[in-house]
């Protein structure tokens, strides 16, 4: 057997099974969704095999079949989902960056324990944790009781079923996603470089801007992307903490499949989210490539 053949066989042996798995269970369903998004909804769910572009027309704002009445309600929901996901990224970054810095400077034993604590929520069901937030945020919940007890507010504040509650909930859920890549790049940070910067005349702020931030940028970008993508498509957090008031694109897709039984329209919406994610990933890939070259 030649060396080239042996290498090929090794490659097939190592990557064959996962490739087949992904082809059948990931790429296959995706292809089905793509085809469904171009079909007509069946009367009792399912699809009729009549090709149509109306699903995409509806997303763009024309709900009628003749493209006359323009009402971009779905685009608005999509833009609002982008906004909520972006705000989730910003707030988890604000929480995780200082925390990662702090934890990376702990002594080793304590550090491992702190990282374990960050990942601890994974061990408890997401639904249970989200309903815990309902108990905290509702008008008679801990937060409002506390605020009223301290005399900071006379009447309970509407926390639950607002954008705030959804961003808070998603930040809480995605903190480990943001934390781990950030921690990876902050831990590698060379303390001597920070001292060198200070030695060469830089204030703390200048050192942060010119040395620490550029050195940890890969972690920031990585953590942001890995948080943004699931936040954009999330439907559990907005349905528990946002109620009927805060609708995100994920809820819309869920409704189309489960309540409205309009599979083609749900598929078209899913394609919209998919393409947004793809654009983001391509942008990140390009950025990383540019960084590697310079």
């Amino acid at each position: 057997m030649t060396l080239a053949r042996r290498k090929l066989l090794q490659l097939v042996g190592l990557l064959g099974a996962p490739t087949v798995f992904l082809l059948i269970f990931f790429f296959g369903p995706l292809l089905i969704m793509l085809v469904y998004s171009l079909l007509t909804p069946g009367l009792y769910g399912g699809v009729d095999w009549i090709f149509s572009h109306l699903n995409y027309g509806r997303i763009l704002g024309w709900a009628d079949t003749r493209y006359e009445k323009f009402d971009p309600v779905y685009i608005a929901i999509f833009l609002r989902s982008l906004k909520l996901a972006a705000l989730t990224v910003v707030s988890s970054l604000a929480v995780c960056y200082p925390a990662a810095f702090w934890i990376s400077r702990m002594r080793p034993g304590l550090r491992d324990f702190a990282i374990f604590l960050v990942t601890l929520p994974f061990f408890v069901s997401l639904i249970v944790r989200l309903f815990a937030w309902v108990l905290i945020l509702r008008p008679t919940g801990f937060l409002n009781q506390g605020l009223m007890g301290l005399g900071l507010t006379g009447a309970p504040i509407e926390f639950l079923y607002t954008d705030f509650a959804v961003i808070l909930g998603m930040t809480y859920v995605f903190i480990p996603f943001m934390f781990l890549p950030l921690y990876g790049s902050i831990e590698k940070l060379d303390m001597a470089q920070i001292e060198a910067s200070s030695d060469l005349g830089a204030t703390r702020f200048q050192t942060f801007r010119k040395v620490i931030l550029p050195a940890t940028l890969p972690g920031i970008v990585g953590g942001s992307v890995i948080t943004f993508i699931p936040a954009l498509g999330n439907f559990i957090v907005p349905s528990v903490l946002g109620g009927a008031k805060v609708l995100m694109i994920g809820n819309l897709i869920e409704q189309q499949f489960l309540s409205a039984r309009n599979w083609p329209f749900g598929s078209a919406l899913a394609m919209l989210v998919m393409s947004a994610v793809l654009i983001l990933l391509i942008a990140q890939f390009r950025l990383a490539k540019k960084e590697a070259q310079s």
Binding site: R107, D190, A192, Q193, E195, A196, S197, S198, D199, L200, G201, A202, T203, Q206, K210, V211, P214, A215
Partner: protein, 374 residues
């Protein structure tokens, strides 16, 4: 000082008309610093250190690890604050000044170059921070790279450089802002032997050329002897001795310095009436107060052929020989004085291992250390 206008024009009291004396580039007065250890105790890193540079000298802080030399360097650069004492740079007290405002720069042990910046941005960093003009920065960076022998390497990435080149970039970066004092924290320890020797010579030449003070930290006594104008030997947070390399080598003040710098044979003597007496009865003239002391015999002071005049002799069994090309390093086991180390010129006729031989040392100009051996 009285204001000048109280004196008639051109008439100054004696001592005032001559130029004001140049301030010392660095003065440390009674520096003290202790750390809390993780076990809850305290560790004294600096125990009353005073040091003054007379001029733009090359001063080496030499000592074993944990002696306080790095802490001392970090109090000069501003990364550690003193519990007590003063640090003056160019005559101005900087004890409370944060690191980024001090007019000194450091070459770090592992260089600490900024990996995400080009060579040019690394070297120009201090000037960029100071908000200097771009053209000025470019000119200065070129000048600095030329100085350290890396002309034309501006656009290289740090990762593309060899260890020796990174060392030079670190040096150029630290010198770009024209510091009044350059601090070097074991900068050569990561280089291989040949490169290290080359850099030693270059650093020394660079210091003479720039005319600024260098404070060099090392635990390598050979490095200290080759490069320094003066060496400060540190142990237990105190300066054991400070002086020129030859002074420290030939006339160490205490057992620690004698033992730490170079190889040494230390023999107990008792002095009475200007004569020092070895334990085996041999004696020689010594200008030392009556009492117990220690004789320092460097390995190269011993020879096979007896020197002219009065000499000390040591007979014993030859235990080990190492041939280095220029010399034989030998170990002699004597019944009266224990193990002696000697350095004999290559070509000396050595008997076989295990045979008896006698070594001699001239009995004049021998150095006695006040301390007695434990």
């Amino acid at each position: 000082m009285m204001p000048f206008d109280t004196f008639p024009a051109g008439v100054f009291p004696a001592g005032m008309q001559d130029h004001t004396p140049m301030p010392s580039p660095l003065e440390i007065i009674d520096a003290r610093k202790s750390f809390r250890t993780p076990e809850g105790g305290t560790m004294t890193a600096l125990d009353g250190i005073s040091l003054k540079l007379a001029s733009a000298e090359f001063v080496t802080l030499l000592g074993p690890s944990g002696c306080g030399k790095t802490t001392l360097l970090r109090t000069i650069s501003g990364f550690e604050t003193l519990d007590a004492g003063e640090v003056l740079i160019d005559g101005a007290a900087v004890t409370q000044m944060p690191a980024h405002r001090r007019p000194v720069n450091t070459v770090f042990q592992r260089y600490a170059l900024f990996g995400h910046m080009s060579v040019a941005r690394n070297v120009g960093y201090a000037l960029e921070i100071a908000g200097r003009d771009k053209r000025e920065i470019r000119a200065r960076v070129g000048e600095m790279l030329e100085l350290v022998g890396l002309a034309g390497m501006e656009q290289r990435a740090i990762q593309q450089l060899s260890g020796g080149q990174q060392q030079r970039v670190a040096l150029a970066r630290a010198l770009a802002a024209k510091p009044k004092l350059l601090l070097l924290d074991e900068p050569l320890s990561a280089l291989d032997k040949n490169l290290r020797q080359k850099m030693q010579q270059e650093l020394k030449a660079l210091q003479r050329e720039l005319g600024i003070g260098f404070i060099f930290v090392t635990h390598d006594q050979e490095e200290a002897l080759t490069m320094s104008d003066r060496i400060a030997v540190l142990a237990h947070g105190q300066i054991q001795q400070i002086g020129a390399p030859t002074e420290l080598y030939q006339t160490p003040a205490n057992l620690f310095t004698a033992d730490f710098l170079g190889e040494s044979n230390l023999l107990p003597v008792s002095v009475t009436g200007g004569r020092a007496c070895l334990t085996d009865g041999q004696s020689f003239a010594a200008a030392h107060a009556t009492g117990a002391a220690t004789l320092l015999l460097r390995p190269e002071a011993l020879s096979i052929t007896p020197p002219e005049g009065h000499a000390l002799s040591f007979t014993g069994t030859l235990r080990e020989t190492y041939y280095t090309g220029t010399d034989h390093q030998i170990t002699l086991e004597t019944p009266a004085h224990g193990t002696l180390h000697a350095l004999l010129r290559s070509g000396a006729a050595l008997p076989g291992l295990g045979s008896e031989m006698t070594l001699h040392a001239p009995a004049q100009g021998l150095h006695l250390i006040d301390e007695t051996l434990p």
